[in-house]
């Protein structure tokens, strides 16, 4: 069963000094649904293309089940057409001159599958992906969602042990995204395929993946379950990148940060920045330890939830924080209230940006280093 191992892989594109991917180590266990998440240009698509063989390594090794597909030191390279790995392109890359059926059939033809079995397989895929009735259409006659299903059907028809998805939902509208997301989860359950997908959309990553690898500027920042990544971010980048609206960050030296942290039993000398999740706080009129006196500066309804902007003006530098709540806030702009941080939502980062566990908090789950294990499917 396919387990993908990336060992010390680096990719530097010709004519560029900075590597697009720098020294990444990652193991994707068999049957995992792994998401590589990061802002655009962080190297996540490059990783996918290197696993598929469309890009070659500059350093390191990619192996599947211990068999090297690309190894710079030993000079091994298996071209993409011989890897048997499925890849669904962000642009879908359907062949415009072939019908839907011909698109799905192409890979089977290359495997020399007899005509009868081929037709049966196409019919099966069409049914699984719910694109019945479109068999004789050309890609240009399909909607974005239909095109994506065809791209998926084409890739899954040859039953690859590994399926790579490049921003699978990014070209779809909101409703289609929801149904495709459910579809992908279902496919993962049904086929038991090892899936790696890349996205810049944290919501997509959080809801789909069993494991998330967060990347920034070509380097791996953290690997963990969606819950890990959110509740125990490894560093400031991860904390900022995950969460919407983004985490409130306040310099530790400011008086606002001093108040917020005063509730913690021990003070941390090394802390440079304090982070507080917008939903991890309570606003009320009672003072208490660690409570920050603030003034409501803005109330923005977002449909079923509210964003409350507050300002702390007591220190030399005023601090602006965002709070989100599910119940209608009973305040008006200009009201003075107290902000109570919830201990689990408070994060401390040192000068390098690394997260320091506050008393009572845990560091990220202690799975073996650099391992992302198969979790429960959604």
């Amino acid at each position: 069963m396919p387990q993908i191992t990336l060992s010390n892989i680096t990719k530097t594109y010709a004519g560029s000094n900075a590597p697009a991917v720098r020294n990444v180590n990652l193991t994707v266990e068999d049957g995992a649904f792994m998401c590589v998440l990061g802002p655009s240009g962080c190297g996540k698509s490059t990783i996918l293309r290197m696993i598929s063989g469309l890009e070659t390594l500059t350093e390191g090794e990619i192996a599947v089940d211990g068999r090297a597909l690309d190894n710079v030191a030993t000079g091994q390279f298996v071209p993409p057409e011989k890897r048997g790995i499925g890849l669904v392109f962000q642009s879908y890359a359907l062949w415009p001159h072939m019908t839907v059926a011909a698109n799905i059939e192409f890979g089977l033809k290359l495997q020399n599958m007899p005509t009868k079995a081929r037709k049966a397989r196409v019919a099966e895929m069409v049914k699984t992906l719910r694109i019945e009735g479109l068999e004789d259409r050309y890609p240009a006659q399909l909607s974005g969602g239909q095109q994506q299903r065809v791209a998926l059907a084409r890739t899954l028809a040859v039953t690859p042990g590994i399926l790579l998805l490049d921003e699978p939902l990014s070209n779809l509208d909101a409703t289609l995204r929801l149904s495709m997301r459910a579809e992908l989860s279902r496919l993962h359950r049904e086929f038991g395929t090892t899936i790696v997908f890349v996205t810049h959309d944290q919501w997509e990553a959080m809801t789909l993946a069993t494991q998330i690898a967060v990347m920034s500027k070509g380097e791996l920042q953290q690997i963990g379950t969606p819950d890990d990544i959110y509740a125990r971010p490894a560093n400031r980048f991860v904390a900022e990148f995950i969460g919407n609206p983004p985490i409130n960050l306040i310099p530790a030296s400011s008086s606002a940060a001093q108040v917020l942290i005063s509730a913690a039993p021990t003070s941390l000398a090394d802390v440079a920045m304090i982070g507080l999740r917008p939903e991890g706080m309570v606003l009320n009129t009672t003072d208490g330890p660690g409570a920050l006196p603030v003034v409501i500066s803005e109330i923005l309804p977002t449909g079923g939830a509210w964003m409350v902007e507050v300002t702390y003006a007591n220190g030399q530098t005023p601090a602006h924080l965002t709070h989100t709540t599910q119940s209608p806030p009973p305040w008006r702009v200009g009201d003075a209230v107290f902000l109570h941080p919830q201990p689990h939502a408070l994060h401390a980062f040192d000068h390098t940006g690394t997260r320091q566990a506050l008393p009572g908090q845990t560091t990220p789950t202690q799975t073996p280093l650099l391992r992302a294990s198969a979790g429960e499917a959604l």
Partner: protein
């Protein structure tokens, strides 16, 4: 859990290991190999002949031993000296050079002025009938230039060289030689032939010029003349300059028009001198003429490339809302329409009409019913020495037509396929050097006028080289020369088609398990069907109407339509010659219309970039 663990820093692969890895990767894809193969083919087809020309200038040629005092192959300045600094220079070199520059510059300026006015009328005014006029006025561009030269002689030939007189003389008017032959008619014909070129290039630029840019200027308080001078003119300058230089480069190498119109009065240009030198076995002098034409062509087009690069700096931003507001002509409407209509009459109706009519008349210019006949098309047993049947019934015509289609057709097919392959390699080659070299070398024949190219091929392939036998007199030399000559168009079409294709479609086929050949067959070629048709048809049309290559490389065994008609002209079979030319014109016209239908784009796009 932090992923990047500095203590685990890997051992970097050595330079040798990296090189080996790259070679292993490259060996899984034939792209590089195919690219190198293509490069070798083009070095042989394009670079070698041109280098031979330059080498011939400086080495003693067969038959010139006594004059140069050396043996064949020795280093010599004899030819250069003879051309530039001998008693004969004035006659054999400087006069043709001067004639060439004179007609090139004059026709360029005239075409620029008339063409710019016409394109402004067509694009920026409410000129009536501008829709069909903008198609009608570019028709001459699709026709071979010497069609007009023949039309001129049909109308204005005088008694100086005997044979049938032109219509005007037939009606009883005497014409001086300078009207009938030489510089004057050559300039007029070339101007007429270039005007559509200006209309296409300048018209396109005018169309792209957003009238909001002018409005913005007016809103800021600029007067109409300031807007014209400071906004419109600078933005139009690149297109105008580019049109001028391309015309000039083309005019320098123009052979057919001065050949038809200049010969009777010994009006020589560089191109006709080159032809004459080859005809009289003066290989060394031919090389000098070819070299000079090439150098002028290369210099001109280098300037053009350089200026186009400069022009990109102020590429017009936006363009989405490019609004072409039209200026009302008001009272000038009629005069303007008359001007455009007259141009159409002069450039299309009169020449083609005269040619067509001349083929159904016994005696020129006499409009009596008894004078009309279809003999020259379908007659039999005519009272002529040769060609006793009408051309549609003569075997010579059909064998020439078949030769044309066969030779030009297979050359275009090869050029089209090579062009598409070149496009593929240029876009996909893993080594940047290979793709830029391929791009440049396939474009190079564009810098070299056809007549010089033909001379180069003649010198190189007239004698056996290694395993390749002497090709002169076989269809092969024509075929190879045509392929090489058409590569600029074919490779441009291929490159632009492949650039638009994008990686993904092919990558996804790789993922599906398709090897290189399979991808070419099942994915790339089918998708590029339209581009391939264009890349084949474009060379076909330009090959069918071309003269320069054939007149030097064709022999009676490989007679094609163009050489057949030129021979008919030489023997004064005016009607038959004109009939053949009309047939060529028809093929060219229909072919162009087919391309436009297939690609859905106008001619103008193909001319730019």
């Amino acid at each position: 859990m932090i992923a990047a663990d500095p203590s685990q820093s890997p051992q970097a692969a050595s330079a040798f290991q990296k090189l080996r890895h790259r070679l292993v990767v490259a060996s899984t894809e034939p792209t590089l190999f195919v690219g190198l193969l293509l490069l070798m083919v083009f070095l042989w087809l394009i670079a070698m002949p041109l280098l031979t020309i330059f080498a011939d200038i400086f080495t003693v040629q067969i038959g010139d031993e006594p004059r140069t005092g050396g043996t064949v192959g020795d280093w010599t300045f004899y030819y250069l000296e003879r051309a530039f600094a001998s008693r004969m220079s004035q006659l054999i070199f400087l006069q043709p050079l001067w004639n060439t520059l004179k007609i090139a510059l004059t026709s360029m300026v005239l075409a620029l002025v008339i063409g710019s006015i016409l394109s402004w009328l067509l694009v920026r005014t409410d000129l009536m009938g501008r829709g069909w006029l903008s198609t009608a006025l570019v028709i001459p561009f699709m026709l071979p230039a010497w069609t007009f030269a023949l039309a001129w002689t049909t109308l204005f030939k005088n008694a100086t060289i005997g044979g049938q007189p032109g219509w005007v003389e037939g009606m009883g008017y005497q014409l001086p030689d300078w009207v009938s032959y030489g510089a004057f008619p050559t300039i007029i014909i070339m101007t007429l032939n270039y005007i559509p070129f200006v209309i296409l290039l300048v018209g396109n630029a005018l169309r792209r010029l957003d009238s909001q840019l002018e409005d913005a200027g007016r809103m800021l308080g600029a007067s109409q003349s300031t807007v014209a001078l400071r906004i419109v003119f600078p933005l139009m300058r690149p297109a105008v300059m580019s049109a001028a230089l391309l015309m000039f480069a083309d005019a320098i190498g123009e052979f057919s028009v001065p050949y038809v119109l200049g010969l009777p009065v010994q009006f020589e240009t560089l191109a006709t001198s080159l032809y004459r030198a080859i005809g009289t076995q003066q290989t060394g002098m031919a090389a000098v003429f070819a070299g000079v034409i090439m150098v002028i062509g290369i210099v001109t087009l280098t300037i053009d490339t350089w200026m186009m690069r400069e022009a990109r700096r102020f590429a017009i931003i936006g363009g989405k809302g490019a609004m072409g507001r039209r200026q009302s002509l008001g009272l000038l409407q009629l005069p303007a329409f008359a001007l455009a209509g007259m141009m159409f009459a002069i450039a299309v109706i009169i020449p083609l009409g005269a040619l067509a009519l001349s083929t159904v008349m016994h005696l020129p210019g006499r409009f009596e019913l008894s004078n009309f006949t279809l003999d020259y098309w379908i007659g039999t047993n005519l009272d002529t020495i040769a060609l006793r049947n009408g051309i549609l019934l003569s075997s010579e015509f059909w064998s020439a037509a078949w030769n044309s289609v066969r030779i030009v057709g297979s050359a275009s097919l090869c050029a089209g396929l090579l062009g598409l392959l070149t496009g593929y390699i240029v876009v996909r080659a893993p080594m940047r050097g290979v793709s830029s070299l391929l791009r440049q070398i396939t474009f190079f024949p564009y810098l070299v006028p056809g007549i010089a190219f033909a001379a180069a091929f003649l010198t190189l392939f007239a004698v056996p080289h290694g395993p390749i036998p002497a090709l002169y007199g076989t269809p092969w030399i024509l075929l190879l020369a045509l392929i090489a000559d058409q590569m600029p168009f074919a490779s441009r079409a291929g490159i632009s088609a492949m650039t638009q294709l994008g990686h993904d479609v092919e990558d996804s086929a790789r993922i599906a398990g398709a090897g290189w050949l399979r991808r070419m067959r099942s994915i790339v070629m089918p998708i590029q069907k339209g581009a391939l048709v264009t890349a084949i048809l474009m060379p076909f049309i330009s090959g069918i109407k071309g003269v320069s290559l054939f007149i030097i490389l064709a022999v009676p065994a490989t007679d094609v339509l163009t050489t057949f008609s030129i021979r008919l002209i030489d023997y004064n079979y005016t009607q038959a010659a004109n009939a053949v030319v009309l047939m060529i014109t028809m093929i060219a016209l229909v072919g162009t219309l087919v391309i436009n239908r297939i690609t859905g784009t106008g001619l103008a796009q193909g001319l730019e970039s």
